[in-house]
Amino acid sequence: MEYIYDPYVLLGVKPGADNQEINAAFARLQQALAPSEAKGKPGAIAQLEQIKAAYALLSDSRKRSAFDRQRASDEPGTGFQMRVTPSKKVIEKLEEPQVIYLLAEIIPHSKASPDSAAPVRRDAGLNLTLILDHSNSMNGVRLDRVKVAATEIIEQLSENDILSVVGFNDHAEVVIPATSVENKRALATRTRIMRASGGTEMYKGLYAGVLENRKNLRPDRVNHIILLTDGNTYGDQEKCLTLARKLSKEGISVSTLGLGSEWNDEFLDEIASITGGSSGFIKSANAVVSFLNNQVKNLSNVYAEQMQLTVAPTPDVDVEMTFKLAPSPQPLPEKDQVIHLGGMQFERKMSVLLQLQIPADVEVGTLDLGRVVVSGRVISEKRVYTATSQLSVQVSEQPSVEPPPNKILDALGKLTLYRMQERANDSIERGNVKEATQRLQNLATRLLEVGQEGLAKEAFDEVKRLKTTHALSEEGRKTLKYQTRVLIGEVDGGKDG
């Protein structure tokens, strides 16, 4: 699928700009990005490529007029807006490095101007592939619930949607080849043939599912894979990740769901984060049906697909963390050149929190922090929209005390809980049980303070376990990780303005 960033927005020129203006804009941006690219900043490398492609398109008169003609025949666009809020507008000049947070909010245009003319069409078809583990450990209630879930998903879909189902254990089998969802009963019957046996070889399942999904890969659909497993895969993780990177470029996102406690969360998180999907933990088989149904419901409400983010900080500024807050909180791979954010839903903003480090001894005045580019394909228009933002803050010797924006403070409060469980795990991995105990105890105390009594109890239970066994229970560890992650999404649910 062709994915062309809007060249005019990227270069910051008007659609009618002449060659001289375009040359000047390109030269200026190239000059601004080159030092960061030289320092190996992944976002700057990506943004330079973007502006080079934009420049190549606009400076070729034949390609440019073809692009303009295509654009003119499109319906009047809607698109989205980006708004970036810093934790402080004015920072103090310090002899030491300091940290600043930036909240990037991407707002679907339908929401940004509520009184805009016609309502947006919601006819995004799904191209959905379910990849379901039916290894031996899925035997009994787990596989039964998965089959019920598959049946309900089929019920939810319409004839506009394409569904494929792949089952895997030691090998993969296509249970339902990619097909439009017409004869629901026949499709549901086919899912019942899956029997639990064998081990878990995920690459085989993932690859078979990808082949099915690619058959109907189209820009006016939501192309998505949901992979559900209850076990570890051995030896083929790198192959899975390589495939996931390919998928992210093709426009297929992958959500991963771990059932029970015997699966590799870091691995499933990574597959989801690379492709713009989400990763989740289903503690008990009973929750499978509602969990999967919700996932599919969210997919069918997608306004724009293949949302992509690049952050090019100035050479001395470092991006230390990137985290998607809404929808579906997910850690993002800040070391990737292009960060995939997945789908943006109708009337719900997407928000991403960035943590940057500013070096010591910056000059008083305006400090340039870098440039952010967001793009995404609005499904109803089959068109890629692009938004850019130049980031800066003021530096002063003695800034007046300003309270940070509440939405940043709220998000950080929740994100900190998630970070605390991560740090406790880091301590355990380093073999420092004492530190881990202290960190987990701090987490439990904080959870109590913010009124999360159930989770606090889980944390206290794990503290006790840590003291006797020097390890956490897998279930407890995953509960703390995914439940604190869910809390992040509850900050504002993306619903308020």
Binding site: K88, E92, Q98, Q357, V401, I408, L412, T416
Partner: protein, 166 residues
């Protein structure tokens, strides 16, 4: 630099929650906060547990005021001072002896707590005392240092004191 009042971790400026322990960083903990000046002794003794500054300068004097005592104890905390109870029979002499203030009756241990001075902060750590050390009413976990702020109430067993930076 923002020193966390819970764990003493030194966070970079710009953090809102401690990077190490996750606790909210109070605005008053920030370095630029001016030292709170108290007008009179009366004011001092009626001060509730408020957020005083945690920052010390080289010139700061540290005073430990035992409730009802006529004059405060001036602490010459260079690096670390043990607060406790002198016991001649076991030849035990803490840096700060609370016997003259009723330490024996009020349950002060021989090695009760230690006050430590780092570059620009003061911390207290309970040394496993029998009757506990309480900071602003909260019992301290033994061997875990906590940052002291100007005006904090410290209770050694039942002996109530208040610490001031001047």
């Amino acid at each position: 630099m923002i020193v966390c009042s819970n764990c003493t971790y030194r966070n970079r400026e710009g953090y809102f929650y401690c990077e190490d322990c996750g606790f909210p960083l109070a605005d008053s903990m920030r370095d630029r906060t001016a030292t709170r000046q108290l007008d009179s002794e009366e004011n001092v003794l009626s001060a509730r547990a408020t957020w005083g500054t945690a920052r010390l300068t080289d010139a700061s004097q540290i005073l430990l005021q035992v409730t009802d005592a006529k004059s405060p104890i001036q602490l010459s905390v260079v690096a670390r001072s043990v607060v406790g109870r002198e016991d001649v029979s076991s030849d035990h002499h803490p840096d700060i002896d609370l016997v003259p203030y009723g330490g024996l009756e009020k349950g002060v241990s021989r090695n009760h707590a230690m006050i430590q001075r780092s570059e620009d902060t003061l911390t207290i750590v309970d040394m496993g005392s029998s009757n506990g050390t309480f900071l602003n009413g909260q019992r301290l976990v033994s061997n875990q240092p906590r940052v002291l702020r100007d005006g904090d109430e410290i209770r050694f067993g039942k002996l109530v004191t208040r610490i001031f930076f001047k």
